[in-house]
Symmetry: C2
Subunit: 109 residues, 2 copies
């Protein structure tokens, strides 16, 4: 693997009055910035990448994030969750169960 | 895994005169459109997702694509490559070796 963890943060933005909502309107850009800063601070640049993504088709759970190669999905993430995500999952290798959305972490058909 | 394959196509766009180039300037948006159409045509919607991504840090090899959970990186992809990528890799499960960039498919340090 090129990256130990490749984190995709949905930055899709819809008009503010769109009933589906969108992750960017819910603050996902700030979450990615905080992720990048925390990864840089810990010297993980080049090993763990915080990538912007278009719509991850998880709008109802936004801001939504998926981490590969393990395929762990997080929803309703806030900037305040970033240190724990980095410390536990991206450094320690253990997903943060309280942020995992059951509906997104089921096997597809 | 929520998706059998989750395909991220870099759609980063830089000004046309930027010496680094960018995947969108090299036609990546049309590649993603072709991927989505081919996946829909084969009834794979919901099982294989063709996602837009921000910069994948593989500008020199653009248009660049990464497929998870297997972590296979492709570079210099064209619209004409899409049917083979879908048929061989996303349906058949066998990466298309001729499109894999060696520098991107090495393990990180």
């Amino acid at each position: 693997m090129r990256f130990r963890h490749h984190v995709f943060v949905c930055e899709n933005r819809r008009p503010a009055d769109d009933p589906r909502g969108s992750c960017a309107c819910k603050g996902s850009e700030a979450i990615r910035r905080a992720l990048k800063e925390e990864l840089n601070r810990r010297g993980l640049k080049g090993q763990v990448r915080a990538n912007a993504a278009g719509c991850l088709d998880a709008c109802a759970y936004g801001p939504s994030i998926v981490v590969y190669p393990e395929g762990i999905w997080y929803g309703h993430v806030t900037v305040e969750d970033v240190p724990e995500l980095v410390e536990r999952h991206l450094v320690g290798g253990e997903p943060v169960a309280r942020l995992m959305v059951p509906e997104l972490n089921r096997r597809s058909g």
